[in-house]
Amino acid sequence: MNLRRIAAVASKEWRETVRDRMFFSLAFLLPILWMLVFGYGLVLDVENIPYAALDRDQSSLSRDYLYRFQQSRYFDFKGALTDEREVEPLLASSRIRAAIIVPEKFQERLKAGQTAGVQTLIDGTFPLRTDITKGYVIAINSAFNEERLTDYISRRIGISRAQAEYRARPIKLEVRYLYNEEVRSTWSMVPALVMFSLMLSCPLLTALGIVREKETGSIYNIYSSTVTKIEFLFGKLLPYVLISSMNAVVLWIMATQWFGVPFKGNLLFFLMASFVFVLSATGVGLLVSLLVRTQIAALIITIIIAMVPTILFSGLIVPVSSLSPSSQFQAHLFPGMYYTNIVRGTFLKGIGPEVLWTDVLALALYAAILRFVAYRLFTKRPRS
């Protein structure tokens, strides 16, 4: 290894990148723009569910019941129906996602101490939303039921309402939210977005590097030069690692200063872990660029293997623990998952190497293996 030759390759690569002004500015702008757009825009909460109600009873109690849905921020009232047949076209056109049908004699039956059935029709196309909608309906129903029951007990046994309330609801569940005490979507998304932005931009930056030389033929200059394989790969990657590391720092500053997400961990550890992650993410791009001949193929493949697993299997949205075993296996094959643990852990939990060393180790191994494979794949004596 000759440091001067590495420096020469690196400076050639750096100049080439810097002189392509649009590419260079996009390399920095992309992570920042994503952070802004997704940090504000990607809200995973299920709120404002559009619904319609059909009140067959038209009594004060049924109105009181339906009013609870109107009051809730989880539901967005779209109108009252007069006939059950109106429900189907509304659900089919997605104008509403749920319909609530209160039966006749709703008040009469409840006043008489009898049960009354309420029907909820829910759009099942998006299972997660369906499930959460169902949860909200159940919560509103059980709050209503507890009040009915309290009334009933206090009348029947002849005790005060306060006492009857304990009887109706003997166990209280006290929930304490840890790490993200106010359960802000931003706090949990923004750190993961640091991972998302880096995981998408690093491989793409790198992937085009070597293929570009292959496609334009300038790689023959390298083949015929004294630069060795390892020096070439080293120098070639250096500018991209540098850009990505700078991006990691910029993203950290945005997350803490702009979005106000607390950073409870050790900054030095976070930066080191991020550097290791950048090394492994650029390795993905490097590997792709050695396997293909054209930039268009490098683009497609990098985006597919960087973007799709990052959205699905990195823990960004769906936690890895709730994936099926085969998908969990796949999740472990991509660097995103380990880094998600590291960012969420250092930002919100304030944990450091004592817990996260396995993730850092996995990333380091990942980077090393990818580089070794790249080294074996790259040859200065191409057969064709």
Binding site: V43, E47, G117, N145, Y152, R293, I300, L312, I317, S324
Partner: protein
């Protein structure tokens, strides 16, 4: 020929012939790039299978730790109710410090603490409380776990209450309670594979439709072969539309393979609406998205730039159009921004036709919006392309 068709129609024949030749050239070029073909096949078969099989967005196997200070019949009964598929009992800890430590390590998502005298309080009718600590580093997941826990505890409490006031269970008719009856339409068993497989298909279609024509056009610019095309009798319109057409045909074939080869036989995804309508509107979506890519391609000088630009557009499209998270809760500006994303309309169309059996009478507004968007994008691309070269 002149006698049969007349000069006007002969010109039309030549025009179409040129277009067909160009389209064929694009396809040949694509199929000679083996890595792309390999990934195309992978994306529309295996990748759909893996996603449909693997992703479970509902609460699933959330690790639960328990600290039971009571060790009574009631406490064990309550713990027993935190069951699969929602929760997975990760064991008992001896004190809360140990529980917090394990939450730190990410071993579990929630930690349930049952106080001493829990059973006694329940029996004597004193109010009691159990505590749940939830990891909200992933906030939707944490909230979901808390909501299920609340349901379980409320139900347990209610049953205890019913027992005490003397009725056997809540289904008896002598209590003033609402019985909620939920009916889920379109996917009554809540088979998540349907949703995930379709959403993955849409993702792959979007990526390929956005990237392939854009990169193909920039490649011609970069290598200078576009100059050759421009001195040929082809019009700029033909040069651009042939790329779109070629990729549309390829993507439609891939979609058919994904739909009939994986989604229908493996996951049993229903096709309730018209299959012809589905494929025609998929073609419209691919053309619209391809035009978006082409518009970006006219702004870029090399493939590196176009790659960055399409990625800049693709990520928000995939994340915010409504398959990753529901649109309703998003800020208003996102909804306005996503009016520009053809995927937003295609989601309505694809789920509408496949799962809801919707037809044009219901989907017309999405179709119209998408068509308008496609026309505008193609017009912009053509205008830029003409200004640059012609």
């Amino acid at each position: 020929m002149n006698v049969v068709f007349g000069p006007g129609s002969q010109r039309a024949v030549i025009w179409w012939h040129r277009l067909a030749v160009m389209t064929r050239k694009e396809m040949l070029q694509l199929f000679r790039d083996l890595p792309i073909v390999a990934f195309l096949v992978y994306s529309f078969t295996l990748a759909i299978y893996i996603t449909g099989n693997g992703i479970r967005s509902q609460l699933h196997d959330a690790g639960l730790l328990v600290h039971d200070a009571d060790h009574s019949f009631s406490s064990r009964e309550l713990i027993h109710r935190f069951q699969a598929p929602f929760f997975r009992l990760n064991g008992e800890v001896l004190d809360s410090r140990e529980g917090l430590r394990l939450l730190d390590r990410g071993i579990a998502v929630a930690f349930l603490e049952i106080p001493p005298r829990f059973h006694e309080q329940l029996v004597t009718g004193e109010p009691t409380a159990v505590q749940l600590l939830v990891d909200t580093t992933n906030s939707p997941n944490g909230l979901s776990a808390a909501s299920y826990a609340a349901r379980i505890v409320a139900r347990f409490g209610q049953e205890t209450a019913f027992n005490r006031i003397g009725s056997a269970d809540e289904s008896s008719q002598d209590l003033p309670l609402i019985l909620s009856d939920h009916r889920v339409w379109y996917n009554p068993d809540q088979n998540e594979a349907w949703f995930e497989a379709i959403s993955h298909l849409l993702r792959e279609i979007t990526i390929f439709a956005l990237l392939l024509p854009a990169a193909a056009l920039v490649r011609e610019k970069e290598r200078g072969t576009v100059e050759q095309l421009l001195v040929s009798p082809l019009t700029p319109f033909q040069i651009m539309i042939s790329k779109v057409l070629a990729m549309t045909v390829v993507i439609l074939c891939a979609t058919a393979v994904g739909l009939f080869g994986v989604m229908q036989p493996v996951f049993g995804v229903p096709i309730r609406g018209s299959i012809w309508l589905f494929f025609s509107l998929t073609a419209l979506f691919v053309v619209t998205t391809a035009c978006m890519g082409l518009a970006a391609a006219t702004l870029a000088r090399n493939q590196g730039q176009v790659g960055m630009m399409t990625l800049l557009v693709a990520a928000p499209m995939l994340m915010l159009s409504g398959i990753t998270a529901p649109m309703e809760a998003m800020p208003t500006w996102v909804r306005y921004l996503m009016a520009l994303s053809p995927l937003r309309y295609y989601i309505e169309i694809a789920y509408g036709i496949l799962l809801k059996g919707a037809g044009l009478n219901i989907l017309w507004d999405s179709v119209l919006a998408m068509a308008a968007l496609g026309t505008a994008l193609f017009g912009f691309g053509l205008w830029r392309f003409r200004r640059q070269f012609a």
